[in-house]
Symmetry: C2
Subunit: 361 residues, 2 copies
Amino acid sequence: MDKPKAHKTALHEVDGIDQPESISKASIEHVTRLRKKQPTAQELVNGILNGDKTALSRAITLVESTNPSHLEKANDVINQCLPHADKSVRIGITGVPGVGKSTFIEAFGKHLTSLGRKVAVLAVDPSSSLSHGSILGDKTRMEELVKDENAYIRPSASGDTLGGVARKTREAIILCEACGFDTIIIETVGVGQSETAVHSMVDFFLLLKIAGAGDELQGIKRGIMEMADLIVINKADGDNIKKAKLAKTEFNRALHLFPPKNSGWQPKVTTCSAITHDGVADVWETINEYLKLTQENGFFGFRRSEQNSYWLTETINEQLKNNFYTREDIAALLEQNKKAVQNNELSPFAAAQVLLEKYFK
Amino acid sequence: MDKPKAHKTALHEVDGIDQPESISKASIEHVTRLRKKQPTAQELVNGILNGDKTALSRAITLVESTNPSHLEKANDVINQCLPHADKSVRIGITGVPGVGKSTFIEAFGKHLTSLGRKVAVLAVDPSSSLSHGSILGDKTRMEELVKDENAYIRPSASGDTLGGVARKTREAIILCEACGFDTIIIETVGVGQSETAVHSMVDFFLLLKIAGAGDELQGIKRGIMEMADLIVINKADGDNIKKAKLAKTEFNRALHLFPPKNSGWQPKVTTCSAITHDGVADVWETINEYLKLTQENGFFGFRRSEQNSYWLTETINEQLKNNFYTREDIAALLEQNKKAVQNNELSPFAAAQVLLEKYFK
């Protein structure tokens, strides 16, 4: 920005009449220079390790950048933060829109900070780049928590693919942990494959539900209930308390339909009100029971190690596919072959072989 | 084979003493020459289209071959058969060992052939290369069906990966259909990821269960119950009838926990005895109800088209991974990087990047 833009305001209605510059060129240049000064990787790492939330935010922005030239610096920051990470509880929270995720996380987060914990709230929402942030986008929805010194709230990274968004969130966890946050909450919206991604980066998975009019068990996405270590029936207040208790019984019965978990943990169901705060403390106690069990039986460390391997492989596989499907000649031939397959002129396997031969040549 | 092998028999116990040749060299050469004469692709296709089961078996063997030189011929046969395929009902059947899959398929298959249908039974069992065919390996387990002129039974292809086994089975379906089989049954053992693969190649998915002692709903693998279009409680005979009816009620309740299917079909539960044949005809009637519904609402064709795209993409993705992970220098570096990731010295993403840079260079 070399000179101030001519803003369209009520003071500037008449075209053809020049307005005096209201901001001096010198001060604009000064501000621009300050803004452009990017901290080095080392400065970011130092800031993060000192618990500086501004440095944390900038590092996460760096990690989220799609500019290839930022990749090396981002990896440098992450690798320097790694030895200081891994010392937290990572909790995944999901639930369909309307279930009260934000109010629950606010009440839960405040409870945790009141116990002296440092809470970071991240989100995985691949739709946010289209909807401009459907979850956590509006920070004012957690207005108490956002003001809390011991809390850090970050909206979902944007991105075209779930894999990309999830990868960035997984890296943000490392940065938050290195910054001293000992409780990481990953929020996701319960309408898609993002739960699987979140499940693969957390220690504990919490499914938020509300009691409805007899349809408590409707609309549960494939596999999500099976992932849950805890189902919390939210909005259990006022006239809803009775319904919530009924729902609890139904969910408890449903949970017993699933095979035992590798963690040795029997998933639980509790009720909770983010308004009256009834049951909020119980959620944290349940998580602590889970941590005690899985740290004693070794599942906690085993799972984290498995998750690391999973993310290594996932990243590789995603890039391999990306390299293939974005090549222009391949994309054109793929379209053509897909049509031949649809018309039963070519088997899917023969079509694949033709494409692979072209690719590897 | 240039000369007969010295077999280790009771007649050949003493080492050092040569045995006279009991088969003349000339006749061995004659047999070998006959054996080696491989039919051309065109001969195989003609045989298949004429309903010749021997040609079908040879073509499936060709498709299953891991010899790269067979690939082109196999693709030729499949592509010539394609226009004659796609006109069948494809039924997936799963259930844990002991549930009576073979006896059920025998009774069900015989019922179908008695109605004038032609039934092919294939299997997807990636473990069979280790266990030497745990399902369908012993054809005598379906001794009635195997003798039936209108039935064709083929054990699982062997292979190291589920993807490979599934791909071969998917191609065998095409060959069976071109050979005039109008009902394809794909059997799989209910202990792993193979159900997902089978689900992606069939029109209708049937889960076989038995009534136990109150533990009807235990041991159900993730997602398998959600895939089922029909749960059949087998061995509902004698003292078991009451238990089976109870189990039916429990399963019916459990099925209602899942969200409605895209097919518009509400999954059903029936009881059946492969011994008394009670309920076997009902299974086929239920499948017909399903076919009527999904052919009317267009889901049937939509699903097959989706499955074709799925297999095209799956084959590509599998080959891309295969090419990466089998490269020796990559495999060595991967081992090294995995260790660094486990020790928190390297993030999974940085480790992946190092590997990808090496690969694409």
